[in-house]
């Protein structure tokens, strides 16, 4: 299976409903699961499937995504041959929405022209799953399809497998056909290509709303789900941080939660996801919540159904209550002072 697949990650997805989490970052860079960003799942799946060349087509703002990916070293993609390629769009007249996918690919067509891989896997960057693409490639070749699309329970996961030569053709004819992304191609009734649907049965959630984000986060607290997602032999890789182990104090009480390294827990944590470097002070209660990197929760504060972005400081004695259907969101870097009680 060596070097037969090229990876293309279309990280341009924008979801209005996720805007509270994407003020400073793209959807692909949204933190998830205490230590990951959404892009880690597709990128790790590609690497774990033996893909050694991955092109990432990001959307503005991509600073945090670039910082996260670096040279690709954490995914073993800092290679002399192939490896990780990052293609920010080169047009500055469409800063908000960028170009459509094929236009974006066309602007960097050398990447595809120069690749030696016969097949190409094209995927969005916001699905949480752990999938081996080798069986998909085998299946695709056996079926003799032009385009294979991965679906779960009939719903598309925005993952497509095509011959690299066909992708070049699709990009080339985009203005003629009016098809500007893979989704356009597979939904075009005039398309001459044979499209097959590959059923994927494992856990997969595409994060395109706060609802889905919160749902996926709570799902991974179920041992049967994290058992499917975090496999030792196909590990989800991310940027490592050199954080020390997490410290639980004498007053800590933690139940049904995932906690990343470098955290310091002195309060009560239940049904929650706590990211790297988070501090939860004595007497604080965090329930059904997602606390992102380096956030501090002050003494005797109570958080229930809250999504707290990075670097937030919740001062002492503050109560913040959201609901399952409408979790409260605290934006990156905010400071929550006493005046906000029950707001």
């Amino acid at each position: 299976m060596k070097k037969r697949l090229l990876g293309v990650i279309d990280a341009t997805t924008y979801a209005e409903d996720l805007k509270d989490l994407t003020l400073h970052r793209s959807v692909a860079a949204i933190p998830f699961g205490g230590r990951y960003r959404l892009i880690d799942f597709i990128l790790s799946n590609m690497v774990n499937s033996g893909i050694e060349s991955v092109g990432i087509f990001p959307k503005y703002p991509f600073r945090s995504l670039m910082d996260h990916l670096g040279s690709g070293k954490n995914w073993d993609l800092n290679r002399k041959r192939d490896g990780l390629f990052f293609f920010p769009f080169s047009s500055d007249d469409k800063p908000n929405f960028g170009m459509n996918s094929f236009e974006h690919f066309a602007a960097n067509i050398d990447f595809l022209n120069r690749s030696t891989q016969e097949y190409c896997l094209i995927s969005d960057a916001n699905t949480i799953f752990n999938m081996d693409f080798n069986p998909l490639l085998e299946w695709h070749m056996e079926q003799g399809c032009d385009i294979s699309e991965v679906r779960r329970d009939g719903a598309p996961l925005n993952i497509f497998l095509v011959k690299t030569s066909l992708l070049l053709e699709l990009i080339d004819s985009r203005d003629k056909t009016g098809n500007y992304c893979m989704r356009d191609v597979v939904t075009d009734i005039d398309s001459p290509y044979q499209v097959c649907y590959y059923p994927y049965e494992g856990f997969a959630v595409t994060v395109d709303s706060i609802d889905q984000y919160y749902f996926a986060s709570m799902e991974i607290l179920k041992p049967t789900i994290w058992g499917q997602l975090f496999l030792k032999e196909r590990a989800i890789l991310t940027k490592v941080k050199d954080e020390p182990p997490t410290h639980y104090s004498k007053s800590a009480s933690v139940h049904n939660s995932m906690i990343a390294n470098g955290a310091s827990i002195e309060g009560i944590v239940e049904n929650s996801i706590i990211a790297r470097g988070v501090k939860i002070a004595k007497g604080a209660i965090v329930r059904n919540s997602i606390i992102m990197q380096k956030t501090q929760i002050g003494e005797n504060s109570i958080l229930d159904h809250v999504i707290v972005d990075k670097d937030v400081k919740v001062e002492s004695g503050i109560t913040l209550i959201g609901t399952k259907d409408a979790p409260k969101i605290l934006q990156k870097g905010s400071i929550i002072k006493g005046a906000c009680v029950n707001s």
């Binding site: 230590r35 490592v240 182990p245 639980y248 139940h255 995932m258």
Partner: protein
């Protein structure tokens, strides 16, 4: 090659036989520590944090895991174009096989490594201690005193002073006497086994020592006493802070327990002096709904379902339902089955403690080291 101001030589060949089964297949500097680290992470991180980017690591005893752990040094930012980390194993020369017979012989046999950098100073370190130290401040002290060699020292309890190399100094910190394990110590300043030499002086004394067939080729026993006799400038550098020799099962356990004290001077959360290590890149730890977890350190990839108190848990460990683990150290990838009781123990890497087993020292103050062999013996009895 660019001339280097200072090059570090890290002696990592030690067997650490007092750590018993922990060092059966592992050099002492590679012994796991603190839920995430190996002992050698401390001197290597100290080098990086002190701005020393050229480090020779001398390995000899059971080097496989240690060598692959060090790799090209990228975990400590020591993968450099010029310098960086170099693993220096003993080698066969045209005339003889050259095993490292003592600390000084190990450096002597790698004089060529030092020649290629031709540094002004050489820092000698050992891979046996847990501490955070800025070697740059020690170098400043060395230069200020106009020393030929500076020996880092720390006060130890008087009753333990006879276990160490003890230095007697004058008010200016000039070393006037060096007693290796004295019966009646005149001072409680113990050598930490950290030396800064002027390179030319080191070279000269290593040559002299090598020609002396009566020498045990050891810095503490041979080189330093000879330099003192020759009235060279030996100075002490008093170190303040946490420093612990983790050469025994007891002291290794104690040093792990020290980390649970949030006022520990060995603050691992300190961003300005990070202790780097090879990150396992495992998922966050999962604490189940039935777990009780207090006063402990837990690393990535663990699953905690039992009751855990005053315990250091390394990556990839599972502690299953109804087990009670107290005052223990659980090394990487060990599995504690259901309903076990574990007290004051060090559980070795990768072993599976069967359901319902009770591990508890018979004598007060004893720490049990549990290896695969221990478990097999327990199964027989």
């Amino acid at each position: 090659m660019q001339k280097k101001k200072i090059v570090a030589m890290l002696l990592a060949g030690g067997q650490g036989s007092r750590l018993n089964s922990l060092t059966k297949d592992l050099a002492k500097p590679a012994v796991p520590f603190g839920g995430k680290y190996r002992i050698i992470d401390f001197p290597l991180s100290n080098c990086t944090n002190s701005g020393i980017n050229t480090v020779g690591v001398l390995t000899q005893y059971q080097p496989l895991i240690l060598n692959s752990y060090i790799g090209i040094g990228s975990a400590w930012d020591l993968d450099r174009k010029d310098g960086g980390v170099t693993v220096l194993p003993p080698y066969a020369a045209s005339t003889e096989m050259k095993w490292y017979t003592g600390t000084a012989s190990a450096i002597y046999q790698n004089l060529n490594y030092l020649h290629q950098y031709n540094p002004e100073y050489v820092l000698i370190l050992s891979g046996d201690h847990i501490y955070k130290m800025n070697y740059e401040l020690m170098l400043d002290h060395h230069i200020e005193k106009g020393a030929d060699v500076t020996i880092s020292v720390i006060p130890v309890p008087w009753e333990e002073a006879n276990r160490f190399g003890i230095l007697n100094t004058d008010e200016e910190l000039r070393v006037i006497e060096f007693d290796e394990k004295p019966k009646e110590p005149k001072s409680n300043l113990a050598s930490m086994g950290i030396y800064i030499f002027n390179w030319k002086v080191l070279e000269e004394y290593l040559e002299v020592d090598n020609d002396n067939s009566g020498s045990s080729h050891d810095f503490g026993k041979d080189i330093l006493p000879l330099m003192l006799k020759d009235q060279k400038n030996l100075f002490a550098y008093p170190f303040k802070g946490y420093w612990k020799d983790v050469g025994t099962v007891q002291s290794l356990w104690e040093a792990n327990m020290d980390l649970l004290d949030s006022s520990s001077e060995l603050n691992l959360l300190d961003q300005s002096w990070r202790i780097y290590s090879v990150n396992p890149n495992q998922p966050p730890q999962y604490i189940s709904k039935d777990a009780t977890l207090t006063d402990s350190l837990v690393n990535e990839g663990c699953t905690i379902e039992g009751t855990v108190t005053r315990t250091v848990v390394f990556q990839g460990v599972s502690i299953e339902r109804e087990s009670v683990v107290t005052e223990s150290v659980i090394m990487p990838d060990a599995v504690i089955g259901k309903g076990c009781i574990i007290e004051k123990a060090i559980i070795s890497s990768g072993i599976k403690v069967p359901d319902g087993l009770v591990i508890r020292p018979k004598n007060n103050g004893e720490i049990l080291l549990v290896s695969k062999e221990t478990l097999e013996e327990m199964a027989i009895h």
